[in-house]
Amino acid sequence: MQKNKTSPSLKDRIHTLTSSKGGSAFTATLLAIGMGLLFGFLVMLLASPFNSVPGFLEILLGGASRLGDVLYFATPILMTGLAVGFAFKMGLFNIGASGQYTMGMFFSLYVAFMWELPTSIHWIACIIAGMVGGMLWGIIPGLLKATLNVNEVITSIMFNYIGMYLVDMWIQGNAVMYVSSKTRTQYLPASAQIPSLGITGSNVNFAIVIAIVIAVLLFVVLNKTIFGFELKATGFNKHASQYAGMNGKRNIILTMVIAGGLAGLGGAFAILAPSSIAGSSMTYEPISVIAANGFNGIAVALLGNSSPIGIIFSALFISYIQRGGTLATMFGYKPEIIDVVIAVIIYFSAFSMLMKNTLAKILHNMANKVHTKDAENRTTKDHKKGGK
């Protein structure tokens, strides 16, 4: 869709975009999205040829009619995306965003039900509690990594399970929060819910504004501050950061705390959202399933190239296309079709840079075929060497 809009000047645009580093990442991402959508269309065509065109159009355009929902569903994955992307800048793979997210939810719920606070600040306290919960779940893998060099991937995967089962257990054991007949938590007190943005028929609320502000703040931290300088240096080359006297251990812990806090906020934003139906609210169901939004965060971060600004757009895009996917069910498609499309987009974006280079090469040099990957890699390497 984005492609159609810009098609007249697309070529020129891509040309100017590729001249900058961020720009070429952007072009590569667009290419990946295009290929992912194409692949999704092929799957739909195979599954049900007659419905494929209207179904596919629904995926592409359906989100536009539900912008409120797009923003609402984008909020938590924007936060978990930041949690993954921020840690990734430091060279850490925070696969534990789900656990941190779930912890955040629980802490928010606890403050919402168990603390009595004035209406004006109750929801703020709940959000902060969510952040603290996530931080707690981020700091442990961080500490283990910094002091004992335990791989953060393994610890944080385990902490996804530990967190999820702990929260399920705590909630089921708390009579104030839990309604055992309905196997879910009580409706939240209104004072704990985040103020709505007032779009009818949608749960969109103030949290999306906070989330975008946080993303912009992270962008500033990463690019303008000493901490960001150290963080990225460590992510690029941890030996050089050691040589330069940077405190690697402190930075690892700090990064994981911040990442955890971001995912925790995601959980808080998800559970504290106001409902469009009066008298109800979001609820937590202890059903022993790891929160999918944590893993969606990985996809969002990958598509956004780990850049906070990129992550804002990738979260919005994924949320948009998910809404469209839900609407495609009207034409008899299973909602999973959209997960296939998203998966393919992520898959292509992982090597889209490579594809873009190859494409350019093929166009420029139709006669000379690319020989082997090895030779090609060497070519680009030597190319740089010779080009200085």
């Binding site: 303008k224 050089a240 000379n368």
Partner: protein
């Protein structure tokens, strides 16, 4: 008319914004050793990549035995008998020597590997050319010199008779270099033709028959080694006269800046200590050189002094302050500058820009930050000043990503950063490794200037010429100990060689105790 086995005629290869090769002609006779000389970035590697089929030239043609050939890739090159030993070896670390040699041309019968056959051929080849290797040793376990032999055997196994060596001596010890030269002479007697890329003039003078010189992508000329000398070659390469002798005035050493006292460092791989009980002092206004063959504890000792690794026993004092257990940042602030051995691993964040790298040791100082925010304009100005002062050249100035810069300029950037930083001691580990003559001259001048300014310099070097020319005092390390101490003007290279190989030692420990 003479017969040439390979002729590269009027080769032009362009990259966006630069002509890497501009109308270059190179003719290789059968059975000769032909050196290809040029500074970093002169276009040597590009030209060889064209011959090896990695690039297609825009203009020009390649002839083998007088017939035009089209080389589209390493596979075509191989079929024409062209083999190449790359500067960075292309070996599978977790495979054995034999497996690496046969990789890609595995002898098989109906898909089943015939290792016996391959092994016999490899052993026969290694005996014939004096390339001793253990076919069953794993690559990760053998020395760099040994790995190079594997690369050479790979070419021989494929029956190549035109052999390209891309800077083969950069990673070798002096002894290994001599052996390699001998092996190369053997090949040439066998009738194999050798193209030898280098910027070390001594090696060319000792082994090559002819030499082609490139400068900034252009062909300068081809000379007979018998009819030329080092001075002429270097003039052709650099475009001006190069001073091989370092100008250095006598100077009295001042107070002790660095004091290393009975330092022991445990080895990470074996039970032996990699540094055992080493004591020495470096004074203001002198250059002390740690000489020795690679792997005799110099790296570990320097890591201990600079704080990259822990010290097991002993003490290190810098400007009178005990820094044995101090974090790196404290050492740096106390007055230590460090030009690391591996500039890509430690010295630079390759994906950072030049300006970010110039403040890598100073970004936290109030000049460059305010309340945790980096002052970009100041960083930019500082980088521009430094680049001018130290002649650091880069494509786009301060915002150039360091990875895209040449090795020489990367090293200059580190040098600039470390020398401009407030310091009393400069630790320079192989500061000229992989640099061309012009850059080496520059680095040496800077080291001497630092000394003349009254700073202490601790230099670690594997190059005997450098050790003798630059330093005031030489400490020879052998198996983790200091086995000899000399004034550089009172010792011959031969004498040093005996100490470096462990054939001779004097008890310097007593001397340094006496000095205390």
């Amino acid at each position: 008319m003479e017969n040439y086995i390979i002729e590269m005629l009027h080769i032009t290869k362009e990259f966006p914004g630069i002509k890497a090769n501009d109308d270059i002609t190179l003719k290789l006779k059968k059975g000769e050793i032909h050196a290809l000389l040029g500074e970093n970035g002169a276009g040597k590697s590009t030209l060889m990549s064209v011959l090896f089929g990695l690039y297609q030239p825009e203009k020009g043609e390649i002839k083998k035995n007088g017939e035009v050939v089209q080389i589209n890739g390493p596979k075509d090159a191989n079929e024409l008998g062209i083999g190449m030993v790359h500067q960075h070896f292309k070996l599978v670390e977790i495979f054995t020597v034999l497996e690496n040699i046969i990789l890609g041309v595995e002898p098989n019968r109906m898909g089943f590997l015939q290792k016996k056959e391959a092994r016999d051929k490899v052993i026969a080849l290694s005996e014939k050319y004096g390339l001793q290797v253990d076919p069953d040793a794993y690559i990760e376990k053998i020395s760099v010199g040994m790995q190079q032999r594997v690369e050479i055997l790979k070419m021989l196994y494929r029956d190549n008779d035109i052999l390209i060596f891309d800077e083969p001596t950069a990673v070798l010890t002096p002894q290994e270099i001599d052996e390699l030269m001998e092996i190369m002479r053997g090949f040439s007697k066998e009738g194999k033709s050798i193209l030898f890329i280098t910027h070390k003039l001594n090696e060319i003078m000792s082994v090559a028959d002819r030499c082609t010189v490139l400068r900034k992508g252009k062909y300068i000329g081809t000379v007979d080694i018998k009819e030329t000398n080092k001075e002429e070659l270097s003039r052709m390469m650099v475009g001006r006269d190069v001073n091989f002798v370092v100008d250095k005035k006598e100077q009295e050493a001042g107070e002790v800046i660095l004091s290393v006292d009975q330092v022991t460092v445990a080895s990470k791989i074996s039970k032996k200590n990699s540094v055992s009980d080493v004591s020495f002092k470096v004074r203001a206004g002198e250059i002390v050189c740690l000489a020795g063959i690679d792997g005799n504890g110099q790296t570990e000792l320097v890591s201990a002094i600079t704080g990259l690794d822990k010290i097991n026993q002993g003490e290190v004092l810098l400007c009178g302050k005990n820094i044995t257990k101090a974090p790196i940042r404290v050492r740096s602030k106390t007055g230590m500058s460090h030009i690391p051995e591996d500039r890509h691993k430690h010295g630079l964040v390759l994906d950072y820009s030049l300006e970010e790298n110039t403040v890598l040791q100073r970004y936290f100082e109030p000049v460059f930050q305010k309340k945790g925010f980096i002052k970009k304009p100041q960083v930019r100005t500082y980088c521009e000043t430094l680049s001018g002062q130290f002649d650091v050249r880069s494509g786009q100035g301060p915002v150039t990503i360091v990875r895209t810069m040449s090795g020489g300029n990367q090293q200059k950037a580190i040098l600039a950063r470390e020398l401009d930083k407030k310091h009393e001691l400069l630790v320079a580990v192989q500061p000229t490794r992989g640099l061309d003559v012009g850059a080496i001259e520059f680095v040496h001048k800077q080291l001497v200037a630092t000394r003349d300014a009254g700073k202490a310099v601790l230099l670690v070097s594997l190059e005997l010429d450098e050790v003798l020319n630059v330093s005031d005092r030489i400490l020879v390390m052998y198996e983790g100990e200091i086995v000899g101490e000399f004034k550089s003007n009172e010792v011959t290279p031969q004498e040093l060689g005996l100490y470096m190989s462990g054939a001779k030692r004097n008890n310097t420990k007593e001397n340094s105790y006496a000095k205390k």
